[in-house]
Amino acid sequence: MATAAIEIENLTKDYPFGFLHLKKRTSLEGLTMSVENGEVFGFLGPNGAGKSTTIKLLMGLIFPTAGTARILGKPISDISMHADIGYLPEQPYFYDYLTAAELLDYFARFHDLSAQDRKARVDLMLKKVGLETARKIQLRKYSKGMLQRVGLAQAILHDPKVVILDEPMSGLDPVGRREVRDIILELKQAGKTVLFSTHILSDAETLCDRVGVIVGGKLRGVGAPDEIVGIRAQGLEILFEYTGASDALQGLLSKATQTGTRYRMQVPESALYAAMQQLCGVGAKVVSVTQVKATLEEYFMHLVEADRAQAPAVEVSGK
């Protein structure tokens, strides 16, 4: 049986605070999850939910209060494993006295690449992220979006097996976002494992094999986007045409929205049969019946609101 690319078990991070550091704030509480090999995994959550904390723990930038994690079968404390990992920090900032080409060459040196390979990889990456023409400009003159592109380039520079991206779409214009999406899809096609955190739920829906939703330091749900939102299926939508007197459909029309002679109405699955009978009985023409699925955003907002209301965690079955 193949091991997961990333395995996290009961990972917890407390931050001490106060004058004598006697109080503690829990940033991440008992996180257990895994990311399979070759999978694109989206890590979703509002600001301060614990997404970046998790990623920093995985990268060894901070240390866990409890729990363990392994990447490619090695514990996160094993630095040698970093040779196979690419990481884009949130809002990346690099040595501003270097040019993009110099920075990438500097980072490439840590990966035992020959001078020829380094040059080839640097050229390829700059082309991939659309910075060929800006390669000789010092990073201090780069915009936020350009720095994000450099960050992405340095993360995939050494052809890593696992790529961890903290808010990769942040600061990018629609064109930049599209390019990052394409790069993530390319990585997936190349069989790489990608874990990325994001606020942009449509990107997660488009790109991810699975998503994990973290709120208040706790993992609230893991699963494929379709599967995860299916848990909160919202019933069925009936689209029908009716030109008769409104009295005959008084009960139903009050729930429907009208556009010309067409009406759109949502009903629970259990009430579908009765509604259809009533519509057919008065001569309404049913145009379509479709299942209404909650979007990832609705699911996400539901979890956030539940957390704010101190509601118990929503149980979601993972794969």
Partner: protein
């Protein structure tokens, strides 16, 4: 060690691009100009004045760079978060720290050599006596470098666990205290308890002894500096730096980044 070298060279490149080394040209020109001026206003002691003036300037400029850039070596990387992407590479934290130390030491060495060249130029311009202070001046410059290495290691240590301002104060405080270790060792008073005297005596061996590195008077009078002192100071600086850097690495390796 290859990774230490990569970090060190980048640190040196940063210092060069931050124009830290530009003061060298200014210093070299100022030294030559001063030598001409001193030659006109002092009779017989021009050489001594130039050596004292030159070594003091090399020491002060080096100390300023060592403390202020030394403290920023790690704290600036943490504050700007440039460290995040670097530590995601196969680099150990102690390798990063040692690379930073090596990079600044390389910067200081180039800086000191360039300033020493200025000093020797000035000496050659005013050369009138039969005394030959060159060898002693060279040793004095070497001792200044050893002293700067110690200061950089201390600045790194403090910057690993405290704010830049506190780190500057602590480094400067230790440097000043280190100039008085002999006095501390020999300090005896009727009013002082034996326990306090023992404490001060012990403390004088823990504090970095910067007095040993000061051979400015010998250099100014062209007196030979014993080889034993050169070996002793080299060994002392190497060992002290190793201990301080090991402590800094131990702290930094366990530190949670922001």
């Amino acid at each position: 060690m290859r990774r230490v070298g990569i970090v060190a060279l980048n640190t040196f490149r940063e210092a060069v691009r931050d124009r830290v080394l530009y003061n060298l040209v200014f210093f070299a020109l100022a030294m030559i100009a001063a030598s001409i001026l001193v030659g006109q206003i002092s009779i017989g002691i021009e050489q001594m004045v130039i050596v004292n003036l030159g070594l003091s300037a090399i020491s002060v400029i080096g100390l300023l760079i060592a403390v202020f850039i030394g403290v920023g070596l790690v704290s600036k990387e943490m504050e700007k978060r440039t460290l995040y992407a670097l530590l995601a590479k196969p680099v150990r934290r102690w390798e990063f720290l040692l690379g930073k130390f090596g990079g600044l030491l390389l910067t200081l060495t180039v800086n000191t050599i360039a300033m020493a060249v200025g000093l020797f130029l000035a000496l050659s311009i005013i050369k009138q006596s039969d005394e030959h202070p060159e060898a002693a001046v060279l040793v004095a410059v070497y001792f200044i470098l050893l002293k700067l290495a110690l200061v950089v290691s201390l600045a790194l240590l403090f910057s690993c666990y405290t704010t830049p301002l506190l780190a500057i104060l602590c480094t400067a405080g230790l440097y000043i205290a280190g100039l008085f270790v002999k006095e501390m060792r020999g300090f005896q008073s009727e009013t002082m308890s034996r326990a306090l005297q023992s404490f001060l005596h012990g403390l004088s061996y823990v504090l970095p002894n910067f007095e040993n590195f000061d051979v400015m008077a010998a250099a100014a009078h062209a007196r030979a500096i014993p080889r034993a002192l050169i070996a002793q100071n080299t060994l002392y600086a190497a060992l002290y730096c190793a201990v301080v850097l090991a402590a800094a690495a131990a702290i930094f390796t366990r530190r949670n980044l922001k």
